[in-house]
């Protein structure tokens, strides 16, 4: 496999966390809830996966446990912002702190011991035999395929092709109108903020069960914040989100390759690069649009981060 294809292969693996967490955040934001807590949710998902994988020898159970744990934290957050209607920025940052603090504490005992039961890559028959690109694209584990293909397609169909998805988007755009139309705004927001958190937890679990299967402090390493940025870059669309996550993965992959090949770029620069590129991803389109370039405008759901009070509509 040549170096470019090896890089692509790593980029796909590295971007998976961002696809999962980003898709979770996308669903959450589509119903009008801003959950800044991605960093914490990934941490909780990861640490739960490590602990459970140590007890049972199935990566699947560990993955589901990670999703459940992050889902519980997400549900608590959702209750706080949707039912009590607390400030979403404050509550979201609280999720970061609780998630990061708890996961670091719980993971402390597992520091340095690799997870033994991870997801194994399997080659998709026929496709993986395509010369060159076959091994790069079709030799990953099942979670990668699910994240890049099944999940975005499913989310896109639900969002844009079903009545339920239309209701979902209506809750995020204009909750008062949705409420008047008989849609359960509170229920919808609770449901999708919880599902979204569980998906972010899956991202954390994936880190531990496949990508870097050993616990380390601050396991999310900023990927949660990157996921938040990629949702904006993607203009709240599942298809573009996959692309943004892949770009981030490519930057991580570039770092690996540059070190492997001894290109002489300081490792510090390589460590900064993914964050700078992510920053550019959200600033450049907005700037270009302002300077008259034709860029698809990225407009957030209208009620994002605003609590809904039926009494005040």
């Amino acid at each position: 496999m040549n170096i470019f294809l090896a890089a692509l292969r790593t980029a796909i693996d590295a971007g998976t966390v961002v696809v999962l967490a980003g898709m979770g955040e996308l669903l959450t934001e589509r119903v009008g809830v801003l959950n800044l807590g991605q960093e914490g949710l990934i941490g909780i998902g990861a640490v739960t996966a490590v602990i459970v994988a140590d007890q049972v020898s199935s990566p699947w159970i560990a993955l589901i446990a990670g999703m459940l744990a992050a889902g519980v934290l997400g549900f608590v957050f959702a209750t706080s912002v949707v039912v009590v209607r607390t400030n979403q920025v404050l509550s979201g940052l609280a999720v970061v702190l609780i998630g990061v603090g708890l996961s670091n504490q719980l993971g402390n005992d597992y520091q340095g011991s690799p997870v033994t039961h991870t997801f194994e890559a399997f080659e998709i028959p026929i496709l993986a035999d395509i010369p060159q690109i076959g091994p790069a694209l079709f030799d990953h584990n099942i979670i990668v395929y699910l994240s890049y293909v099944a999940l975005p397609v499913l989310v896109a169909i639900v969002l844009f092709r079903t009545r339920h998805g239309m209701n979902l988007r209506a809750v995020g755009e204009n909750p008062a109108a949705a409420d008047a139309a008989g849609i359960d705004v509170t229920g919808m927001r609770l449901l999708y903020a919880t599902i979204g958190a569980a998906l972010s937890g899956a991202g954390g679990a994936f880190l531990m069960l496949s990508f870097t299967p050993v616990w380390s402090v601050n396991v999310a390493r900023g990927r949660g914040w990157v996921a938040l940025a990629v949702v904006i870059f993607a203009a709240w669309r599942p298809s573009l989100l996959v692309f943004g996550a892949l770009l981030f993965g490519a930057m991580i992959s570039l770092g690996f390759i540059a070190q492997q090949q001894n290109w002489g770029i300081p490792s510090f620069v390589l460590a900064m690069l993914p964050f700078l590129v992510t920053l550019a991803l959200i600033i450049l389109p907005a700037a270009l649009a302002r300077f008259g370039f034709k860029v698809r405008s990225s407009v957030a759901p209208a009620s994002l981060a605003t609590p809904y009070f039926r009494e005040e509509r």
Partner: protein, 372 residues
Amino acid sequence: MSSVAAGRDLAPRVRLQRRLQVDPRRAALMRIGGVVVALLAAGLALAVTGRPALSLAGEAVTSTFGERLGLEQTAIIATPILLDAIAVAVSLRMRLWNIGVEGQFYMGAWAAAGVGIYVDAPAPLLLVLMALAGAVGGALWIAVPAIARAYWNVNEIITTLLLNFVAVTWVEWFSIDLWRDREAEVIQATPLVGARLPDLFGSTVLHVGFLLPLLLAAFFWVVFRYGRWGYEVDMIGGNPRAAAFAGISVRRRIVTVMLISGAIAGISGMVHLAGATGRLQGTISNGYGLSGFIVAALAGASFLGLVVGGLFIALLLHSGIVLQTSGLSVYIVVAVYGVVLVGIAVAEMAARYRLVIGRRPPAAPGAERAPP
């Protein structure tokens, strides 16, 4: 309206009703109550998991108040926390969330270290130059998010935060590699800077930098209470559209306020460098930006409340360091911060809304909505 909806209206239920007026004293009490409840909850959680929370708290308090050194160390921690909190509060006045104070702190410390190591000048002048460098470093670090927010409406929360990761790596690079002290045995830090802040009141550990946040808080309190500029910033925070109609240049204000916020965070880094550590190192901040953010949120961007809150959090953090030596990790302290933040968020709601339990009062005649 359908009969189902009408039936639901008659059922007894719990709902939130906006208070007509927000009493600032009640709001402050609510916040304090929120923090106390959060701390109690965290203590209970610790007790349940088998850690004697009460005796730990006692230990922390006695080690802080029991000796002068404890108080002085608390003040050393309080200095960067208070300065960072002022930085956050200035932007929060405009409802802008600068969660990049940590990064601006790092870049301020970095710029000040560059001047302090490589510029040869008498100590007082060098300190002034370092402070200037710190302010510029911090302000430049927030410049891109500020412009992006003001002119292209890019969410400042995420941009300022992403830059934290870059700043930490940047400072690591310089302290471990480029500017590393190769003569001393210190492995992962730069040489000492050329000038240090003098000690306060003949103290052996506490530097005069501790006075800066107190003066700055008083300054901003006056600016926002009596100044035209402060009034306009508050007005934009309250209602940017109305402010724009009143002829205030909202975009320019966003940029200036964010630059000032970044500059204060940068000075905070300089003060901590020249006052406490003396060398630039990868771990120079110890999460002060985060603590500063919590403090500003706790104080609701009030500059007087912030001083009280900052000293309180510094106490908490200092006891955290003490607790660490008694086997409770710093991670737990971070999680407790999170719980405290929830307490603040709920208290903020409780100050503005009241819970109404029971039936909805009968609608006044003629108050019914026209059918859609």
